[in-house]
């Protein structure tokens, strides 16, 4: 790892080639990852701002900021933007794109041009989604349930066409990752020497490729229904609106795992690295990712326990749903056990990983409540469900995403952020998150239905508390935007391996050169061999003169 001399001579991927054109036409996975990151962060802040506005409106039952129709459009946009434009591409397309080839010791993904195409397809799809706001914002909810979506006067076609197009970018990324993982691993990296992040991305990619086409077909049928009146979902013409729900959840339930599996991959990396401990239960974690991916295709009906589907269908879906819970539980046990007898250092990525563990546990336990048939009948379509999926999607995926951002930030931009501000922010976000969403568990169990513009007076205290939480959460993200921007421009320079990690993205320069590694990489140690190899992270080197940051393996 004594590349210090070479560092000065070799320009990083950020420096060379120069010019805006070199970015827009790049086939470098790192640049594409950064471009994805910029795009999804933009939409994350748009979606987040919408959320804060919605919560402000819900502070009291009567009108504060907007009327019911505007509210309905806002919550639809919040959901659609967060799901389709932020969370689905967040970890795979942004972080995964940047990190996957580096972890494998590869120069790039298998199909670099397809990778760039996927970004443009994403932008193209996003334009349709944004255009729908101007054309008469959609008010159907992000699920586009028929017959509401076929009868409303808003611009459902533009939005669903946008989501249809976005699906292709997701398929492109998935396809690219599957081939990359199969073909471009460094010599010596067998399947079970891959970092668990790679397993997570692999399981995700399989779902992306297999499930997304179903969403595409469903949305095309919806568009045909509106434009041509084909009647497949229209009861007046012999169609069935519940069929739409089956089609939709056949994609959208596996999509939940598109969202969470790569997050679980990040958590495996961060916990092992910051515990400096061989990951406990590598194979169970790897297999459980594939297990979750497989079972996720067979549980869609648990979104429909009160839709009038048959009792036997409900029974089977409930039964299978619990089998998604078990592998997730196994992962949590393994992560916690990994910390046992480790050498734990609580830097920001680890703080987010610990937050993930707590929040994801709550998300998982409440998922069991929702999977239990008799209980789901009471809780379905209430704020309990809203709280549950925010605990899994935000408390789970977004916390993992933030852990990943803080973990790989030095590698991506070559600079460190303010550790103190980052930790303070993590605390603010943790408090704000629980204020916002834990109160919603109580609201939902008390009977508060979701997607209500107004509500009965007895729900006001908890709604008010939740809204205050949303403001705290909003402030947390604003602080994060500030310190990350500051780090980007004048953060302290980072060394090649700040955290003393053993995966191979840390074996190259920071930030990496255009072709990732200066010479071909060969696997010399496993990704979690902290019992055999130790690297002192250069993060701890506070004085630039200290040569410790080049300390090699013992």
């Amino acid at each position: 790892m004594s590349n210090a001399a070479a560092t000065a001579a070799v320009p990083s991927y950020l420096q060379e080639p120069k010019g805006i054109k070199s970015w827009l036409l790049t086939v470098d996975h790192k640049r594409i990852g950064i471009m994805y990151l910029a795009a999804i962060m933009f939409f994350f802040f748009v979606g987040g701002a919408l959320a804060v506005i919605l919560r402000t409106e819900l502070f009291r039952p009567e009108q504060i900021l907007m009327d019911a129709d505007t509210y309905n459009q806002f919550f639809t946009l919040h959901g659609a933007i967060m799901i389709f434009l932020f969370i689905i591409p967040s970890i795979p397309a942004a972080l995964g794109n940047f990190i996957l080839p580096l972890m494998l010791g590869a120069k790039d993904v298998a199909f670099p041009r397809l990778n760039l195409a996927s970004w443009y397809v994403y932008v193209f799809g996003a334009i349709f989604c944004v255009a729908s706001i101007v054309l008469g914002a959609v008010d159907t909810g992000w699920t586009f349930y028929t017959p509401y979506s076929t009868t409303t006067s808003t611009s459902v076609i533009s939005m669903t066409l946008g989501v249809f197009i976005l699906g292709f970018s997701s398929i492109f990324t998935g396809l690219n990752f599957i081939v990359t993982i199969h073909k471009l691993r460094m010599p010596g990296m067998t399947w079970f020497k891959m970092p668990l992040m790679v397993w997570g991305l692999y399981a995700t990619a399989i779902i992306q490729v297999l499930a997304t086409p179903v969403l595409a077909i469903t949305l095309v049928l919806l568009i045909m229904e509106r434009v041509l009146g084909v009647g497949i979902f229209d009861p007046a013409m012999g169609g069935d609106p519940v069929l739409y729900q089956h089609f939709f959840w056949f994609y959208s339930h596996p999509a939940v795992y598109i969202m969470i599996l790569p997050g679980m991959g990040i958590i495996s990396e961060v916990i092992a690295c910051f515990s400096h401990r061989k990951i406990f239960g590598y194979k169970p974690i790897a297999y459980s990712s594939l297990g979750i991916a497989f079972v996720s295709f067979m549980v869609w009906g648990h979104h429909m326990f009160t839709s009038g589907q048959s009792e036997i269908a409900a029974m089977i879906f409930s039964f299978l749903t619990f089998f998604v819970g078990i592998p997730s539980g196994i992962k949590v046990f393994n992560w916690v056990t990994t910390m046992y007898k480790g050498s734990i250092s609580l830097e920001t990525p680890m703080v987010y990983a610990v937050m993930f563990l707590f929040l994801f546990m709550i998300g998982g336990f409440t998922g069991i409540m929702l999977g239990a048939l008799a209980l789901d009948v009471h809780l379905h379509d209430t704020y309990f469900v809203v709280a549950h999926f925010h605990y899994v999607m935000m408390g789970g995926t977004v916390m993992a995403f933030l852990a990943g951002i803080h973990y790989w930030w030095p590698k991506m931009f070559g600079r460190l952020y303010s550790e103190r501000w980052a930790k303070v922010t993590a605390l603010v976000i943790f408090v704000g998150f629980n204020m916002t969403f834990f109160s919603q568990f109580i609201l939902g169990a008390q009977g508060m239905p979701r997607r209500y513009y107004s509500y009965l007076d007895q729900y006001q205290p908890l709604h008010g508390f939740s809204s205050v939480g949303a403001w705290v959460l909003g402030i947390g993200f604003v602080i994060m935007a500030v310190y990350l921007t500051a780090s980007f421009f004048n953060g302290r320079k980072a060394g090649p391996n700040p955290w003393g990690a053993l995966t191979y993205e840390w074996e190259t320069l920071t930030p990496p050169p255009q072709h990732n590694f200066l010479k071909d990489v060969v696997l010399t140690h496993g990704p979690y061999d902290y019992d055999k190899v130790t690297v002192v992270g250069d993060f701890y080197d506070k004085s630039p003169t200290d040569k410790q940051h080049m300390a090699g393996k013992v």
């Binding site: 309905n72 349930y145 609106p241 029974m315 619990f322 336990f365 409540m369 999977g371 008390q446 003393g500």
Partner: protein, 315 residues
């Protein structure tokens, strides 16, 4: 019966509620136990195994078969119980008792309407008797809605192309919120009604009043409505054909042979007696299967039915 509610759950006001809440309590406390165990372990490890020295090697132990079996098998067993209890409770929610009173529910943007077999109809207020199973037959005239009464722990989507049903048995009188839980547009959050649970006598009185006694109709027209809504039509035809009971066609003033060998004329008094006490004078050739309508039909309704039967004379 819990009528105060807990931090999480509203009061229990139906027979199924305690069962649902038992499942809630089980999952809640089992989850809390796991959460505390894992949470304490995380915090303890963070402190106990904090990094004291840079560059130290750590344990390479990455497997422990008994431990891994334990944390796979124990949750699986617990979850299996949850599944079975959840399914049992769900089946009870699905299968209404045979003696359930039926009410037709219609959801539309953005109100609920209820039609009673007795002829009453209400909007946004479902009135039901306490301690009696009520089965709702539900449909929508536009988009999907969902019928939800938190205090009863019951919910079912209301669809435009098919009937769905839901039943409950209220255990205490009072007024309970009825909410629409499937997003249906502008007025979704205004689609709120009330379930008013009355004592048995109050309910009968209410139904009598609200049911209306054929106002605006001739007695014969009202009788025709009752012929269907009171299910006379399942056994008595209007075209002279013999079903379970004698046809109503040309019945009035007809001479009937009884099982006792006597002959009677089917006049007003005979018809009235046969409705309220069917087995008193049984017509020969028919089985004694008709239930008494004593207490089910009001005098005015009996009058209307007789008027209807009288109108069925072929010229």
């Amino acid at each position: 019966m819990d009528t105060t509610g807990t931090l999480f759950l509203p009061p229990q006001n139906s027979t199924i509620a305690s069962e649902v809440d038992f499942l809630w309590d089980f999952i809640y406390w089992a989850s809390a136990a796991f959460f505390v165990i894992l949470g304490v372990a995380i915090i303890y490890f963070l402190i106990r195994y904090r990094r004291r020295r840079q560059g130290e090697l750590t344990s390479g132990k990455s497997h422990n078969v008994p431990l891994e079996i334990a944390w796979t098998v124990i949750p699986t067993i617990l979850i299996f119980f949850v599944f079975v209890w959840g399914f049992q409770g769900y089946l009870k929610m699905q299968i209404a008792p045979g003696d359930a009173m039926e009410v037709k529910v219609t959801g539309q943007k953005w109100f609920w309407s209820f039609q009673y077999e007795e002829g009453a109809s209400t909007v946004n207020e479902l009135v039901v008797p306490v301690d009696q199973p009520v089965k709702l037959l539900m449909s929508s005239t536009d988009v999907i809605h969902s019928f939800f009464v938190p205090n009863f722990r019951v919910k079912m989507d209301v669809l435009p192309n098919r009937y769905t049903h839901l039943w409950f048995e209220a255990t205490s009188t009072g007024e309970y919120d009825l909410l629409c839980t499937e997003y249906c547009g502008t007025g979704h959050s205004e689609m709120i009604g009330t379930v008013r649970v009355l004592g048995e006598r109050e309910f009968t009185e209410w139904l009598e009043q609200a049911g209306g006694m054929g106002e605006g109709m001739t007695p014969a027209e009202f009788g025709e409505q009752l012929y269907t809504s009171k299910a006379c039509n399942t056994c008595h035809s209007l075209d002279g054909s013999k079903v379970v009971g004698p046809s109503f066609l040309n019945l009035y003033n007809k001479e009937q042979m009884l099982t006792t060998g006597q002959a009677v004329v089917a006049d007003e008094n005979y018809l009235r007696e046969s409705i309220l006490n069917p087995q008193a004078k049984l017509v020969a050739g028919y089985d004694p299967v008709m239930p008494s309508y004593q207490g089910v039909l009001k005098d005015q309704q009996v009058d209307a039915l007789i008027a209807f039967i009288k109108s069925l004379q072929e010229q």
